[in-house]
């Protein structure tokens, strides 16, 4: 059996576990995967969080990817990070930077096994703030300054932080500038794929890269093996040589997501009932969900190439991303909406929108209601 086949049939514990610590967020990014904004009253308590961390320690999950929402909003954020590190569970957390003050940056710099990803979705304020909201560029830059000053990066007391960018048609032309910005801070650059998940379902059609940009990005990444991608562009491998990484959909096989209320989903991009495997609050906890849930068992069965069977590139792209197909309303055994051979666009053109799944309530903040003013007569 090849390694890929072994990984497809599932591991005893996930390799890459994403855990969203809260739905609360001070921003309202228009592509937010988890439709975050407001804290959910059912979110896991500190004691429940620690019980899950104990389980992850026993399962030898080496590190977790912490996100949200904005995870640093949790009042017990540092307590939980320290609890993880003490148990050998490394923490890589994503933040918009709003709470990375000079003091907190210095505290983080002393912590081993903690890595920080600052989210920034453009190489200039206008491009970034159009997606992440007004003031978010300044917020992220301040945090980057604070991390650098606290000793993150070359010559410092801590390893480099990461600059994490979701690729859109507006920032793909800025790859070079993003690379330069990361280099100015001695930071690592991490580029990830935009998914039509969460609030992204409504904005993906306007934001996702064009076919030309996909080819441009593929070439750019091939030339820069040091740029991190979280394996998220494996659908581009159909363009030729494989990009470094596992090049497979790891959902429920090597990857999963725990949301702030403890529900376990197949991957970070499918927060939807259809891909909910169970809850860490169920009997048997996370371990039972990972090893025994019906959904994960099913995802570990051999898959058929479906509509992609006749395409010579299936071995390279594996049909692409399950979440991307699901949220645009395409069948899971068909092409990825961003299939580089154009099969996704053709399939999308046949849909009328009724195939798209109901996104559910989400945790977005209510849109402020505009008061209607009586017209004032100016005489």
């Amino acid at each position: 059996m090849t390694l890929t086949d072994q990984l497809k049939s599932g591991l005893d514990a996930p390799i890459c576990l994403t855990w969203e610590w809260t739905y609360a967020c001070n921003l309202a990014c228009i592509h937010c995967l988890s439709s975050s904004g407001q804290r959910d009253p059912r979110e896991l308590t500190t004691a429940e969080m620690k019980a899950v961390i104990d389980e992850l320690h026993d399962l030898q999950v080496f590190y977790i990817n912490v996100g949200g929402g904005e995870p640093t909003i949790r009042p017990d954020f540092f307590e939980l990070v320290e609890y993880c590190v003490d148990r050998g569970v490394g923490v890589k957390f994503s933040t918009n930077g709003s709470r990375i003050t000079p003091e907190r940056a210095r505290r983080l710099a002393t912590m081993d096994y903690v890595d920080i990803q600052i989210s920034l979705d453009g190489a200039d304020e206008a491009t970034n703030d159009a997606v992440r909201g007004q003031g978010s560029w300044a917020m992220a830059r301040r945090a980057m300054d604070n991390l650098r000053d606290a000793g993150f990066g070359p010559g410092g007391v801590h390893g480099p932080f990461k600059l994490s960018v979701v690729m859109t048609r507006h920032n793909i032309p800025q790859c070079g500038q993003l690379e330069q910005l990361a280099a100015e801070y001695g930071a690592e650059l991490r580029l990830t794929r935009l998914r039509p998940s969460g609030r992204g379902a409504d904005t993906w059609h306007e934001l996702h890269p064009t076919q030309d940009q996909q080819r441009e990005l593929y070439q750019w990444l091939l030339d820069r093996p040091g740029v991190l991608t979280g394996d998220s562009f494996f659908h581009l491998s159909a363009l030729g040589e494989s990009l470094p990484g596992l090049n497979l959909c790891g959902a429920g096989r090597v990857v999963c997501l725990i949301d702030p209320v403890g529900d376990v989903y197949a991957c970070p991009f499918v927060l939807h009932d259809e891909f909910k495997a169970g809850s860490v609050r169920d009997t048997g906890g996370f371990t039972h969900v990972w090893r025994r849930s019906d959904l994960f068992t099913e995802l570990r069965q051999p898959t058929s190439a479906g509509a992609c069977a006749s395409c010579g590139s299936y071995d390279a792209c594996q049909g692409g991303c399950m979440a991307a197909k699901f949220f645009v309303g395409l069948p899971l055994d068909g092409p990825d909406p961003e299939c580089v051979k154009g099969h996704g666009e053709a399939a999308l053109a046949k849909l009328d929108g009724s195939q798209r799944p109901d996104a559910g309530p989400g945790h977005s903040k209510p849109v402020p209601v505009k008061l209607t003013h009586k017209p004032v007569l100016v005489g």
């Binding site: 005893d12 080496f62 050998g88 979280g230 990009l243 470094p244 990484g245 596992l246």
Partner: protein, 103 residues
């Protein structure tokens, strides 16, 4: 997970020397062998054979890689392949040479 199997700093691997699992590397048993994680450089590696896992764990008990292989149940015909796997692990710092004075 990018950079999973790419080599780090290449140190010349010498099977005549003693090596051991790096102190910051943890092994997690898996059906195919083990998953190895380096808490220092944050890299992952797949050890794709239970024999390789046993060998890696036992490596530090021998005065050389060759001696460790000879003491293992691995058939001599497979020794070159195992040596290559160990060299790769050493290249990404998953194995470290044992200093001469503490064999």
């Amino acid at each position: 997970m990018r950079g999973l199997l790419s080599p780090g700093t290449v140190n010349a691997f010498d099977p005549a020397r003693a090596y051991r699992l790096h102190a910051k590397v943890a092994l997690r048993p898996e059906p195919f062998g083990a998953l190895a994680y380096h808490y220092g450089n944050r890299r992952l590696n797949f050890l794709r054979s239970p024999d390789l896992v046993d060998l890696v764990k036992d490596l530090g008990n021998h005065h050389s890689v060759t001696a460790a292989l000879q003491a293992s149940p691995v058939e001599p015909v497979r020794h070159p392949a195992f040596c290559r796997a160990l060299a790769q692990l050493a290249a990404s710092d998953f194995l470290e040479p044992v200093p001469e004075q503490e064999p």
